[in-house]
Symmetry: C2
């Protein structure tokens, strides 16, 4: 059966099952063929909107029978082309699977469908005095966040999705449904499939439900902002804070280019200097003690006035510049497109990596603020580009190559939290060597016909 | 070629390579065919003592060519038969690979060969003000601890091997050497092979080197001991402590049977009552605050005098009963054998699980103290048995079946930290259902001829 005929046949069967929750409408296909990154869109052949694990399983069985690629989709906030359909196929949009299934306050965990977003979950949890910590910039779905091993500003204290997912329900390529992990905090019972699916970007199966860790809201939260004479001073303050084991909840760097962008975007007048944004969680006395410790480290590294506050309203104001960072970049250059790239290095090498990168950006004549989850050794370079300017795009590609080579040379990773998708496949071998063939072997074992999000993570 | 001829041929080649570091001496084989658990010994055909990853790789190539099973061995402290050789083959004893390769104090990590033991590492680190947190009872090797996803008393605060291994060097069945993970604290680059090998018990490859997380020694450490009128009171205190997010470093339960055993063993006179042992890490004010918080919770649940101390000597004395627990069990019954089993449940179900288990032990007429890493919902039942008493052994098996069924019914795991080995294979399907077939598929992909520690984790 030719692909076209096979597709038509499968769509007819999907329609019989899902009614108007399957569509080949071109606007819907276009919308599902792009993400928030810089890659040109590649729309799927059709889009389905299942409501349950059982429906996803039935869809996978039909796709498997037809040899049709399956691309899981949350809300499309990936950055490296993870949701695109280079080989066509069916986009499985899980955003209608928005049910929070169970909250267990006594065990500090909850189970939810994959389409629940992080903000939806936290709104639901607020009255119970609980919160879910992982916070990538976008209001992503939990399923998408697990699939890309997402992270965010709280990771330095609470970990990434890697540390915060206890178990998964996954639909495999042939439609089988499995459950991984469980609600016990520890287990030594068999292979760790949960961590295998976290970060697999839909290439091994479709995550349909998750059990995640929660934390109780703390007695006290305080925020601080501190500006530095030099980028090195800010980074060294972050490094020493981590090395001393001070349990900061957030420690974020905005370089002077980013602060300038935020000022323009939000009509603020922050001094244009490398700036650290911090947050402390704990008891009232613990947050005071932590803030004082970091304040005295900052003073040693040329930090200016260390402003800190426990007042919720003031905290929001202090953090405003950080939260607006991504939008502000876009506003730096009207009509410009954003290419956000990220690397992660051991923290002892962070100052060196950021310093060289800033020089490289300037020498490459790129507009590109640096924003970093510096407590983890992770930072983003947000290039703001004119996609029509071929020379500039070439310089951006060459810069990205050098950035990643630099991070790998320093013992780091080609991506701290954005994942591989289409955009970072070229670098995987340089980072992992022969282990990539083991990854590919696992992919073949679980998805022998390469139907699950084909073209992602692996080259060819 | 018959197995005997093949073995002789391989041994000759191993001897040419390793000289006297290969042996078929029966005493050495016997010693390598048993662990610290209750399973009858099953010796390998021969034992080799490699010094390096390269030698392990060369050994694996020879075994692979000869179709000879490979059983990795550290210091033999596993508890579920992980080191035994039910299919014969070559035991690869890594205990001579004891080199600490690199300590990075600024990044709080270090790399070491797999045969380094946890105490050796901590002795090495002491002068640098660093420590490695994972502490199973035995002075196990890092490689063995990673392979069994080991844990211990510090896991409630610092995590298990799952959270503390950053990267691995692994020799695969065909002798290929791969490196997984890396030194960056976060990465979203490809499948998480590190977590796949952690807990794989030598069935997917041989761990030869590890990079692990370290922590800086803290300003203050304080310990506390508190006795309770009832087992429920002790367990409920632990549960509430965790639910309130108090960052205790250790919270261990010894039931009255265990306290009695320790008293007899060490000629102590601790009141025979369910007892919590706690430890607090942090700044001087933080540990005081934590101890006060837990003290007031304990008082609500019928806890007696809450003794706490920051004095190192006094701390050692307070903890003595906990550290002697395993030896004390053995002394409960001269000539008796120990069968330590462990389960883990969501903490909200822990009191119920322990209460029912205590009743079941008594009704089964078994001598079996309960010792728990209760902050994780994990506890051990240490049966002290006369292996010659068939009726008692039958009761022990039936009790173990019920214990595990109870833990699974409560949403838990059949093993929190001892692993599957030979002893818990029967329960894997009940815990993981269809996911076991996915685990087996990965096993086949990485070790198609089933040469890596065959017979472990999977039935048949």
């Amino acid at each position: 059966m030719a692909i076209g005929a096979s597709l038509a046949h499968t769509l007819a069967r999907l329609e019989a099952m899902l009614g108007d929750r399957v569509t080949a409408n071109s606007a819907v296909r276009e919308q599902h063929g792009r993400d928030e990154g810089y890659q040109p869109g590649q729309p799927p052949d059709a889009v389905v909107f299942p409501n349950s694990t059982e429906e996803v399983s039935a869809i996978a069985k039909l796709c498997s029978a037809a040899g049709l690629p399956m691309i899981p989709y949350g809300v499309g906030t990936s950055l490296e082309g993870q949701v695109m359909a280079p080989a066509g196929g069916l986009c499985i949009d899980l955003s209608r699977m928005r049910e929070i299934l169970q909250v267990n306050p006594r065990d500090l965990d909850c189970s939810a469908q994959a389409g629940v977003t992080r903000r939806q979950l936290n709104t639901h949890l607020r009255d119970q005095g609980l919160f879910f910590t992982v916070d990538p910039g976008a209001d992503a779905t939990l399923g998408g966040m697990a699939a890309t091993r997402a992270s965010g500003t709280n990771a330095v204290r609470y970990g990434t999705m890697r540390e915060n997912v206890l178990g998964l329900t996954v639909v495999l390529a042939d439609g089988r449904v499995i459950r991984t992990g469980g609600r016990a905090r520890k287990s030594a019972a068999g292979y760790d499939l949960t961590h295998l699916f976290i970060g697999s970007e839909g290439t091994l199966g479709i995550i349909t439900e998750l059990t995640v860790r929660l934390y109780g809201r703390l007695e006290a939260v305080s925020s601080a902002v501190c500006r530095f004479a030099t980028l090195d001073g800010a980074v060294d303050t972050a490094i020493e804070t981590i090395q001393l084991g001070i349990p900061v909840a957030r420690i974020e760097l905005l370089d002077e280019v980013q602060i300038d962008a935020v000022n323009r975007y939000s009509r603020l007048s922050n001094p244009v200097a490398p700036t650290l944004f911090l947050e402390f969680h704990g008891t009232t006395s613990a947050v005071r003690e932590q803030a004082e410790q970091v304040g005295s480290i900052a003073a040693e590294y040329g930090g200016g006035d260390f402003q800190w506050s426990q007042d919720e309203q003031q905290r929001q104001t202090l953090w405003r510049a950080r939260h607006d960072a991504a939008y502000a970049c876009k506003a730096l250059r009207p009509g410009g497109e954003i290419w956000p790239t990220d690397v992660c290095v051991p923290i002892s090498r962070l100052a060196e990596c950021i310093r060289e990168t800033r020089k490289d950006i300037d020498a490459s004549k790129l507009v590109a603020p640096i924003v970093g989850h510096v407590g983890d050794g992770n930072f983003h370079v947000i290039m703001v580009l004119d996609p029509g300017d071929r020379g500039e795009m070439d310089r951006a590609h060459a810069f990205n190559d050098r950035l990643i080579a630099r991070a790998l040379d320093l013992g780091g990773s080609c991506t701290g939290e954005h994942g591989v998708g289409l955009g970072k496949r070229d670098y995987l071998l340089a980072e992992h060597g022969g282990a990539v063939e083991v990854m590919a072997g696992i992919k073949r074992a679980l998805d022998p016909r390469n139907l699950m999000n084909p073209g992602k993570i692996f080259l060819a």
